[in-house]
Structures are given as structure tokens and as C-alpha cells.
Symmetry: C2
Subunit: 322 residues, 2 copies
Amino acid sequence: MTTNILILSVGTRNKIIQYFKHELKGKGKIIVTDSSELAPALYEADKHYIVPRITEPGYIETILEICTKEKITGILSLIDPELTLLAENYSKFTEIGVTPIISRADLVTMSFNKFEFNKFVQRLGFNSIKSYKELSKFYEDLDNNKISFPVFVKPITGSASINISKVKTKEQLEEMFERFDDLLIQELMDEKEYGVDVYIDLLSSEPVSLFIKEKLNMRAGETDKSISVRNEKLFNLVYDFVTKAGYRGIIDIDIFEKQGEFYISEVNPRFGGGYPHAFESGINVPLQIINNLQNHTNTPNLDYAPGIYMMKFNEVTIKRID
Amino acid sequence: MTTNILILSVGTRNKIIQYFKHELKGKGKIIVTDSSELAPALYEADKHYIVPRITEPGYIETILEICTKEKITGILSLIDPELTLLAENYSKFTEIGVTPIISRADLVTMSFNKFEFNKFVQRLGFNSIKSYKELSKFYEDLDNNKISFPVFVKPITGSASINISKVKTKEQLEEMFERFDDLLIQELMDEKEYGVDVYIDLLSSEPVSLFIKEKLNMRAGETDKSISVRNEKLFNLVYDFVTKAGYRGIIDIDIFEKQGEFYISEVNPRFGGGYPHAFESGINVPLQIINNLQNHTNTPNLDYAPGIYMMKFNEVTIKRID
């Protein structure tokens, strides 16, 4: 059986496409899309399509047509705004024999709302980061010494690091609340930060890949570096969380460590930007996805070496576009 | 004769090291340094050294020792703060048989002072961007309609895009001048921007590589993309400027276009961040450097195809560091 995979909105995620192409050799094709012909990852695939922006009417129909034409077996997206779309249209894909690699729509939507996600983490019985939507509740805890300045202020929804501010005074805080709606006040977490890549088998619903890396903060923050970590307490916590939460497919979890305790900060229900570190360490999620699409349950692949560094640098795609 | 090249402060410039390694095959070795073992480009070279930061006492002596030990023929640096150091210590290197690929110290220093550089461009008879160090002179031209808001305000010295602000009112401008010293007010240039890579032969003093690319501004500005350009007027202007200015070795020139006229904005007397576009288009500066170090004058290599796009993406280096 041929396994053809369609990856949407590939942008600059060349490595992900390279990995899939390598794993699909002899098994099927990797087809990709983007709205811009200047997305370099387009040119890594067996075939690519330039498609409308995801906000355009008829977008999902265009994707469904590509699925039919290219005999697609599985589909996934690499950008946040498209994950909800994919999850909400799940049955439109399964009806034509295509499996979306995505969690349930309600879980995806909740994952993009930092306040709701935080409550969810608490309900499941895990440490969560102290979070406030209302100034009054924050001031109450401030008076009772349950929290102190500085704090982080960020939009409740929206992508990770846009408009995140470290706020030091009531004046600054009130000024921000006057200017913007839907802000979240969060306890400052500035010790250690981990990124965890997890693949939850589509058939067995068990985590069959789990790779922990500590993010290393660099000057100017422009160069991404990380180190692979083996930590039994953190491993068990993530395994437990993922099993209880009900995600499926590939997810990327951000976790903070403060005074020896771990705090689950957010889940991106897609391949994280740091996934190449996991793949290069032997955690082969593309292969696990292909196995699932071929109706095979994966045996867990949870072994990797600690102390391995990943350092990003710029590679280039050179292309004449006619 | 063996040609061994030492490249300093390589950071994440893996591509540059790869190109040199490829061109040196059978001819000599590429040795590199950085102050951090998490600089991925270290691991592309034949050999690497972790060295003190360039501001540490004895730094230049450390580099000279490496030159002697490794029988280095030529040396260059990839970061701005080190260029002046290399230029000022030029004779210390030539005395031990090492050729620094760098322009004269006075030219290097001047290139990092945006006001002085601007006057230099004018003196040589080229269009320059209207620039003011003093509020009074700016206001004079503002009153005479020679310039209008918005303007760019940036530090006179210092790296390209740190703290550059678009300023729209007198109030904003005066607030900035109160808070910071050594600011420069410049006419807003927001039409087209070009990056030009030029290699000026160390023996003939002629430009023997000249590659023009238009920088393409992308959303969020985080992904670098450019397109190769052939434009006779711009080519002749750059050729003329470089010949008159007296730079040597590899330089990167930023040029703006406004209403059909070109304005030379700055020169970085080192490999620019976009050089891979030139190399991948056949403009082989590492080979020209090797030729020069072997005492051969280069024949000009000024031919390349226009309309070729470069798109950057993240590659990763994986490394156990003991």
C-alpha cells in the first residue's frame, strides 16, 4: 500500500519535509503546500502546491481536492492557525480516506487559550503557573504575598512570544490593561525551560516517542540551542499528563522548572520548532506516523542519549521561480 | 605551497566555513575560533579553538600563537567588533607571514561611524542619505522642507539594526535625544534595499567579484529572502565607489533605491550575512581569497544569473560536547 502524506503551510520547515521524504522512500510521496512561492520548504518535497491563504473562502475545499487528486493517506499542518481548521474539518478528511494527524478540536482550541489551558492542567492534578485574567484577583494575591512583581503579561490567545512583557509595577500593569483586552498575568518563570516532543500513537493512544530538551537562552535570543535531557521525574510527569489529557499525534510541550518543581506552560499540537533535535537523536516521529497510516501500532521508542547539544544555523535554498 | 586559513568568531556562519573547506580541499586547512563551544560553525572546520572573548587582555597574542602553531597563511573575522582589532594589528600578522583579509584600519573604523561614513560617501561624489547629528540642523532643514517626518533615528556607531526607530514627531525625537547620546537622524529610505557582495583583489586592488541582490522584506522580518539583480547603473556605481574608496578583501555594501536614485548606506568590511546567495550563484570569493594568498591575481568573475531567489531556513548541528 502506498502512503502519501500532505503537509500544509510548510514555510521554512525544510527539515521536517526532508525527514518525511527520507522515511517515505519506496513507500509513498510527500506533497506540500504554502501560500507563498518563497517558502523554501516547498522545494524539498516530491511535489508542491501554491494554495490560497487559510483565511480565504474555499480553502479547505482546495485542500480536499489535492487530497483526492494525489491519493493522500495522511495530512498535517505546521502552523498554529491551521490546526483548529484541520481539527474542525476532521470528518471531511476521514470521509475521503485521509487521516488528519491532529488532536480533537476542543483540545486544540483550548490549547491556544492560555487561561483555559492553565485551568485544564490544574484539573488534571498538575502544577500550573499562577495566572490571572482580572486585576482584582491579582491584587488580592499580591496583598496576600501569594505572588509578587515582576510578572509576565501576555495575550490570552495568540502565538507564544508575541507581545510578552515583563511587568514590574502596578502602574505599568494598569497601563497595559487600559490599552489591550484579553491579557493574562502570569507568575514569572525564569529558571529553566524545557521543550518536550511527544508522539501519541493514533491506534494505541499511548505516547510512543518522548524527547526532553532544555532550551538554552542565548544572547539576543536569536540562535536556538538546546541540550537533550533525561530526567525520570519530568519524563513520568509528561507521560502521565499526555495520557490523561487525551492529545493524539505529534505535540510539543513547554515546561518550566522552578525550585525543583515542573510547571506545564503550554502545548502546541503540532511539530515544534525544536523537533529536529529529537529526530537527529533517533526519535523518528515521521516513521511512527507512516506506521500508523499503514495501520500498524508503534512500539514505544523512548530511548535517546542525554547531553547532546543542538545548535541552529542558516541554510539556504536557491531557486529560480518562473 | 599549503594554504591554511584561520577564521575568527565563526558563530553560526556554518556556510562560510563549508565553502572555504570545500575550496581548500587538497590545498590546505580551514581552522576556526569562537569564544563559545556552542558556536555550531566550529564543527564544520578541519580544526577549531575555543578562545577568550575579543575584549580579554592577551586575546590578539592567543590568535598570533594559533597562527604560528597552525602555519596560517591568511586570517579573517566574521564579526564587526573584531574587524578594527584585526586591521589595527595588521603588521603583527604580516610579520609572521600571515595576511589579514581586511581593509585599512582608518577605513574600517570610519565604516562603523554612520555620520563619518556618510560624509565620506559625499566627498567621493556619490548620493548619500541626508543625516543629522544635531537637532538644530535637522530643524533648519525641516523648516526649509528639505526633509520631513517620519525619519530614522539610530546610534551613530553600533551594529546595523539595534535600536533603530522610525520617528514621527518632534516630541518623540526630543525624547530620544534626551535619553541617548550619539544619535543620528536619517532620511527615511523605504523603497528598495540592496545588498552587494564585493571582493577587491588584494594584489590588483580591483573588484573581481560583484554580486547584487535585492533584499525582500518579509512578514515579521524573520525569514531572510533575496533575489539576484543585474542592473548596469547600480553595478557601475558600486564598481566606481569601491575603486575610489580603497577597500580591500571582502566587503558587503547596503544600498537604498529611492525614486530611481541609489544611495550608499553602509559598508561592512567582512562577509555579509547574505553572502551564501552570491556563492551559490557562482561568485566564489573563498577561491579568490585562496588565489590571492597563493600570490595569484584573480581575473574578474562578475557574471551571474539575475532572478534567482535565496530563501533561508534553519539547519541544525548536533554535537556531544565533553
